[in-house]
């Protein structure tokens, strides 16, 4: 069954290094731009879905925009929360409780230098008692430990990890908004400094300023959109563990179930997907997400990405704006995955357009240890 909600507008906030705006003003500007695509104004918004916008984030953003929404959601399942927001918002739209949802995010983590890699030891959180005393880099070490286990079990190689970064860079070179656009080879990645084995510098995403906004609405309201509205065909999410010690099998994530559910709702299969926007916080994450979503069998993600399969012209174009590795990673990447998926399906991605893209998947993950996953399947009418 096709779900009955449409993405009627998308926008990026200013990206990269943002010194002339605040997080709130960035969100407001992106919302205005997305609303213009939807043929709407701020007063039309009746539901606000935001994360990492301060305490009671949806309340703060609603106030800043001068609206009093009848639905608020600041669910925090990490960087993929925004794919989960689509899941939530579609349900609320289908139930007739809301008509126009704003999903938004902005961060100036680069300019404000407010990202912490060290967790605090404390004597009352589980994390502070049993994980931070061993000095993991949050979340680099956690994902490194997950990647190392994947390599151990399946023989995934550093070269295969590096190929993910190289592929993302190929796409970024065609996106003038991408932060990193210099050429990058597999040996460049392998020669970059080791941060935490198996990760080199280039296996790890950017830390820059950015964000975006998205308008989700009913089929009726979507008809007024100034640009082509994109239907949500399926959406699902779930989560596993916050402390790494509690994560069962490291090579298995909540994405297995969210992917299966989203594809079933959409009546599509991985084979039907023209564009994949995976959550590339680390190169290894992409390899595991390809397996989770069923593009290949478990353990075969490494060989799958070889020979440029994710690159422009490859069999599975992925991270088509350059991803978190080369385009932008503002601390939470999920919203920007949706923005790019919509642009690809509208056919407005310019030089990096995937020809005749009809089905796109935005797959978010989050948490310090692959803790959550949320899959959105989008189509073109």
């Amino acid at each position: 069954m096709t779900r009955k909600a449409y993405i009627a507008g998308v926008a990026e906030t200013p990206l990269g290094k943002v010194v002339d705006q605040t997080e709130l003003s960035m969100v407001a500007l992106a919302a205005k731009e997305a609303l213009a695509e939807a043929g709407m104004s701020v007063k039309d918004i009746d539901a606000v879905f935001v994360n990492y916008m301060g305490e009671e984030g949806s309340v703060q953003v609603g106030e800043y925009l001068g609206i009093e929404p009848r639905w608020g959601d600041s669910t925090d399942i990490g960087g993929g929360s925004f794919e989960a927001f689509v899941d939530h918002a579609v349900l609320a739209i289908e139930a007739g409780r809301i008509e126009v949802a704003l999903i938004a995010y902005a961060s100036r983590q680069r300019s404000r230098r407010n990202r912490q890699l060290a967790g605090a030891d404390d004597s009352y959180s589980i994390w502070g008692q049993f994980e931070t005393p061993f000095r993991p880099l949050m979340p680099i070490t956690h994902y490194a430990l997950i990647a190392a286990r994947h390599m151990h079990e399946f023989g995934t190689t550093p070269e295969q990890l590096a190929e993910v970064a190289v592929s993302a860079r190929h796409w970024a070179r065609m996106n003038e908004k991408a932060w990193s656009r210099d050429s990058l080879t597999v040996s460049d990645v392998l020669d970059s400094p080791v941060i935490a084995t198996p990760f080199h510098r280039h296996d790890i995403c950017l830390r820059v300023d950015g964000g975006g906004a998205l308008i989700l609405t009913t089929p009726e309201r979507a008809r007024d959109a100034a640009k082509k509205a994109i239907p949500v065909l399926g959406a699902a999410h779930g989560h596993t563990a916050w402390n790494l010690s509690q994560l069962g099998d490291f090579t298995h994530s909540a994405g297995v179930r969210s992917g299966r559910s989203a594809f079933a709702q959409a009546g599509t299969r991985p084979d039907d997907v023209d564009v994949l926007e995976p959550y590339d916080n680390f190169t290894s994450s992409v390899i595991m997400q390809i397996e989770d979503l069923g593009f290949c069998a478990r353990g075969e993600g490494g060989p799958f990405v070889e020979e440029g399969r994710l690159r422009p012209g490859g069999g599975l174009p992925a991270s088509t704006m350059g991803g978190g590795l080369s385009y932008n990673h503002p601390g939470a990447l999920g919203l920007l995955l949706l923005v790019e998926a919509v642009r690809q399906l509208r056919g407005e991605a310019g030089e990096r357009q995937v020809p005749d893209a009809r089905i796109a998947v935005a797959h978010g993950i989050g948490g310090v240890c692959n803790s959550s996953a949320a899959t959105v399947v989008l189509g073109r009418e």
Partner: protein, 132 residues
């Protein structure tokens, strides 16, 4: 020993773990009804729901489930490189730790080695297990 190290450490559900740690004993919850070993502690058995849990000393031995050598310190006072690992205990549960006194690969046998610290009770590092 610092004041923090002497004070009751942990929360009401974990204090027993840290009391045992002061004596260099690694203890886990064990379910009397189904035999499940549990870490970290909860008020009931996650396997069967029973509240009949008691603290039992674990063997302190296990295998490296994954490990990562860190070359970038999370804060300036920490010396690199050092190895963060997840160890799967012979009793079943996994825990995060540091590997000390030698190198280990995934799958290698390790045993607990307590590390004293100023800010609280000792924490369980692991080292290569000479008995294999």
């Amino acid at each position: 020993m610092s004041k923090a190290a002497r004070e009751t450490w942990g929360d009401p559900t974990t204090a027993a773990f840290w009391e045992a740690a002061r004596e260099h004993r690694l203890v886990l919850q064990r379910c009397a009804d189904c035999g499940h070993w549990q870490f970290y502690p909860r008020p009931f058995c996650l396997e069967c729901g029973s509240s009949a849990l008691s603290w039992k000393e674990a063997s302190g031995r296990g295998r490296v489930y994954s490990s990562s050598e860190t070359h970038m310190a999370p804060s300036p006072d920490i010396e690199t490189p050092y190895v963060v690992a997840v160890v799967e205990l012979d009793e079943g549960p996994k825990l995060m730790t540091n590997i000390v006194n030698g190198r280990c690969r995934i799958g290698d046998r390790v045993r607990v080695r307590w590390r004293e610290r100023e800010e609280g009770p000792p924490i369980p590092d692991f080292e290569p297990d000479p008995e294999g």
